[in-house]
Symmetry: D2
Subunit: 360 residues, 4 copies
């Protein structure tokens, strides 16, 4: 993820001529050799193995945090305390309480924050938002979303920190479902109520060091929820980290009374639109391939329909960061927005444990 | 649906040379002219506007019921009482109580029954069942299914009997979700527990006779459930009759620890299989086009991959009926199996009303 | 193919209430046992092992010929001479000369003829024709079509009559490419000029009886052509019978100055339309799923988008036959139309041999 | 295209830690203001409006040429004469003669060259090459390729330099078909013989300055060829710049006696493989989504199946350039390879004009 960020830093000013110039002042990495090499490859001015050095570096305005999730809180709080803006990878923290503390600190600081939900910047997603806003699919009443991957599908994978609530927090919820929630919030408005169930598909995994013993998996492989949105619309969320064949199956359908929009991140340059306004005999889902008509595609590629990639999404996110810090754009999602996303996934855990509906 | 049955009756002996010869003894239809014409077109020996005439006709062995759902119970009970086997369209009845009475009557009668869940006979579905049984996708732990159509998506559709619990029973549950449950039961085993929510997308519709007034819709447009199967596997069901663009979007994914199977009825000749046994660099969902390798395709078409259609599924169902009555095949689903399906959808209504999980 | 016809005969009057009633007077098959059984299963009044018996049967109005291609000519000429209308499977004959003789005989007889190009009756194809006629894709200037299957892809398949010009005539041209030409003629108008190449992918095949020896394959596995249409539009045709994975890959694209239409027979219920009249940011290929808006779908199925199958196409063809004989519809393609199709494929053979362009 | 290159220059050392460090010494652009801004945004050390300044700059080792095609020759020859390696956009030149002169000069110079055929570096394409080499689809006998876009589909587009042989050279051949040929050469070996036809779909276009007058289009909108490969395999190439809805429809099928591979650049992260070695009832085209198993994907993205984009292809090309100049990789395609590609498209023009087959 650090590399993904660094590539975006190197690309952003080339792609977007309107963005303030990004300075790469300092890279901090606990690993001295690899870190130093990385700093050089990506053109950082300074390197340190001590992350707190960035806090005291007066040339540094923004701290970007791409460490394991369990470290986000300490670093973000320290950065805010040092008067630095914070750009943090998702999720904010392992627990909702910690995420809440971070959001409060950000609010009090008067500083700016951004959380790394890069899928939101895809021109296809922005096009979906535009279509909804323009009424292309009419009154929207239902959302059905799935985020599946297969990185934990193999039963032969050994036990690891990822399988433990203590070390990783949630399972598929914090890894994958948060992305789905971020898209749902962007396109549908906030989730206000939910009922959820979670499920562990692989209850035991062999210990890497003692391959004759197994360790217990205690965070969820699969999670599902029924949700209500503030608009009154309803929806379903579903996510699995153990879904063979799915690599980035972040999909949704948005049902309106005049049409439907669907999307699948594995074909991230395509948006599908069904409009009941088309002539009955010509109606069908149309596959809209992202192109120059869909900003900010044209900043990347001049030709039509030539495909953006995953790393380009990060470049768009960094552009949002730079414009936001310059006061020319709203930073989205900031720590408050991210907290709202994490309230949903932790609400799902709680609902699953209690068997009750949760109001957020 | 009557026409669909009649086409299957005319085709079954031509397609399947092994099936006992079907005799079309009598057609009953309250509409004298249309019925008589229909009877002639399809080669029925006799016609009557009085359905009870079929019960007393000694040449009749099986009664096929394709009337509106509210009439199934009376007719099925009368047919069983008259010593006739019964072939009934789904769902059995408007209420679970009535469906239960029908199943008890069938059991007591010693007669045979079959309920019209035609999607189960698709060679692609049989191939999925074979793959699961052979372990192609390993231990199966998750099922995700959707059945969406758009016949009630248009907000301008007037109010009708379909919108009222009293006249139609459930909404999307009885129309569509039952098909999904039938597939889930076939491929995953029976559902034993569920939590559900239902939702009315269009709460009021204009009255056809008084276009300045609206009538209340009181059965569900959309329904969702988390389910547990007897095997311990989990799943999700979702169904909407108000999903623009979906015409027969009866889809499912089956997640196993060695692969995945997916299906979409709108491409009913394709089954998708992902196998983690393939070489890592060659892994991918393969699209298996139904062909002579997938019985009973070859009884319909000699060439490879030339596509079966919806009406062919009904012909396969009728073949199951004929072989079942001859004792050469198990009739599936019979009234007991169908009751199990309807327990699920009525359990969904109850769970949605009470907010609690239901054990079946 | 005989079974496919018989299924259509049994279905046609049930599906299409407007069609004259079809009488199945006589079935002729050289194989006595199988034929008699077949005749009974499908409800033919009489059976004979002598095909000429049909010619003298006064109850017979139409002779349907589904024998191997080499027998079409003799039978068709005899039927016409006996004053019977003729419904013949494609292609008319093994050689263009024979096809020409048949067409002349038909013209002189004043009787009606129909040749079995069943793909033409697909509602998706009729919809394509309508869209073109209405100008949905503007001025049409290019056609690109492919018809691939894999029934001769396996190098281990033994040598057979199919591999010999003497016994089978052409290879993929007569089997597959004729269908492509029939679609091109229907949608684009007649082909007037062509340049072609053919290719034998498997030059030798093991003899079934002498598996240590090989026989020469002397008709083409693959054939390609550039073509000009009478309208001035251009096109490309390509066909292979040795294309692994293709089962009924009969596809085309039609390029116009305002849009494009594409089709693939392996998804025969879908037509794709791109319209440059859509708003630029909403443009995309839309997948139009065949439904009640596309005649004659609704004669088969009441529900939307529930899929027709290959055998349904034959039923539509037989409906065309019955309406045509009743003078209520144009029989298409008749022997003259079919001759025009065969002129194209034999022109392709000639062009390939001479290396020159051919004007038809 | 300059921006696309510059983005790749900025990214390459971050993505590929093994590549020699690229120095951006000098940017030359005739446009002073925009060029200077661009040079600064992308971190070039110097800027000049005079391209010959780069030739005399001793810090410069490689000259990258991304000017209009008509200028390539003069610049490349000058760069080679100045002892600089040359990295040039495709095609080499407007005429085959000029391209030949450039290739000869490169050969004589002993310097290294690379031509910008970026689609060749896609991991999905490399995977196709590996599969073919490993025999996954057996003996390869047929290639069918298409490269369509729609940038000249609109009849309302005004006349421009693109429409004139004198200014642009070929039409779709030099713009699009060259990419197809580059893929064919990579995967199938060189083309040795061809027969072609070209076609102008829009023969006249309105003059931008005199909208009441039209100018003649004299280069081709559409081109097709039958080809033979040095291996004896055959193929077809087809390309249109006037194909509505196609944005980057660079597709191919490779037919072997044990399977088939297909690809579509509009879904550039997917490769499709059909293997006749799979069990008959499980055979189907599998969609292989590019991931860490397919180098060099993992240099860009850590997660599975998260999609590369068009600009990433250019970064891979630049990596090839850097490794090639360091003697650690073969530069492909160099001027000789590119000349071979251009011989094909100019051969197609010639064949179309003469109506004869061309041997290369």
């Amino acid at each position: 993820m650090g590399k993904c960020h660094a590539l975006a830093y190197n690309a952003v000013n080339g792609v977007f001529s309107d963005c303030p110039k990004l300075r790469l002042e300092m890279l901090c990495d606990i690993n001295s050799d690899a870190g130093r090499q990385f700093a050089e490859a990506f053109g950082f001015k300074q390197f340190s193995t001590e992350w707190r050095d960035a806090l005291t570096n007066p040339a540094v305005d923004i701290i970007s945090i791409t460490t394991p999730n369990g470290l986000h809180k300490e670093m973000a709080l320290a950065a805010l305390a040092a008067g630095k803006h914070v750009y943090c990878e998702k999720p904010l923290a392992l627990t909702l309480a910690d995420a809440g503390i971070m959001a409060v600190a950000a609010r009090k600081s008067g500083l700016k924050t951004l959380v790394g939900y890069n899928y939101l910047y895809n021109p296809a997603i922005l096009n979906a938002a535009r279509l909804i806003k323009e009424g292309a699919i009419g009154r929207v009443y239902f959302f059905r979303g799935v985020n599946d991957e297969d990185y934990m599908a193999d039963p032969a994978l050994p036990h690891s920190w990822r399988c433990e609530v203590k070390k990783a927090g949630t399972g598929t919820l914090g890894d994958l479902a948060v992305h789905l929630v971020s898209l749902a919030h962007l396109l549908m408005g906030n989730i206000t109520q939910l009922t959820a169930q979670t499920y562990i598909a692989h209850k035991n995994r062999l210990l890497e060091d003692h391959p004759d013993k197994t360790g217990t998996v205690d965070n969820e492989d699969i999670a599902s929820a029924f949700v209500s949105f503030e608009s009154g619309a309803r929806g379903e969320l579903s996510s699995s980290r153990s879904a063979w064949g799915r690599k980035n199956h972040l999909t949704f359908e948005i049902h309106g009374d005049a049409g439907m929009i669907t999307f699948d991140q594995e074909r991230m340059n395509e948006l599908r639109l069904y409009s009941s306004h088309d002539k009955p005999e010509d109606q069908g889902f149309r596959i809209i391939l992202t192109g120059p008509e869909h900003p900010p595609y044209a900043s990347f590629i001049a030709s039509r329909g030539h495909q953006l990639g995953f790393n380009d999404l990060k470049t768009m996110e960094v552009a949002n960061l730079l414009r936001g810090l310059a006061g020319r754009d709203e930073l989205y999602p900031d720590f408050d927005d991210a907290l709202r996303i994490e309230r949903v996934i932790h609400g799902m855990v709680r609902s699953s444990e209690t068997g009750s509906s949760i109001t957020l």
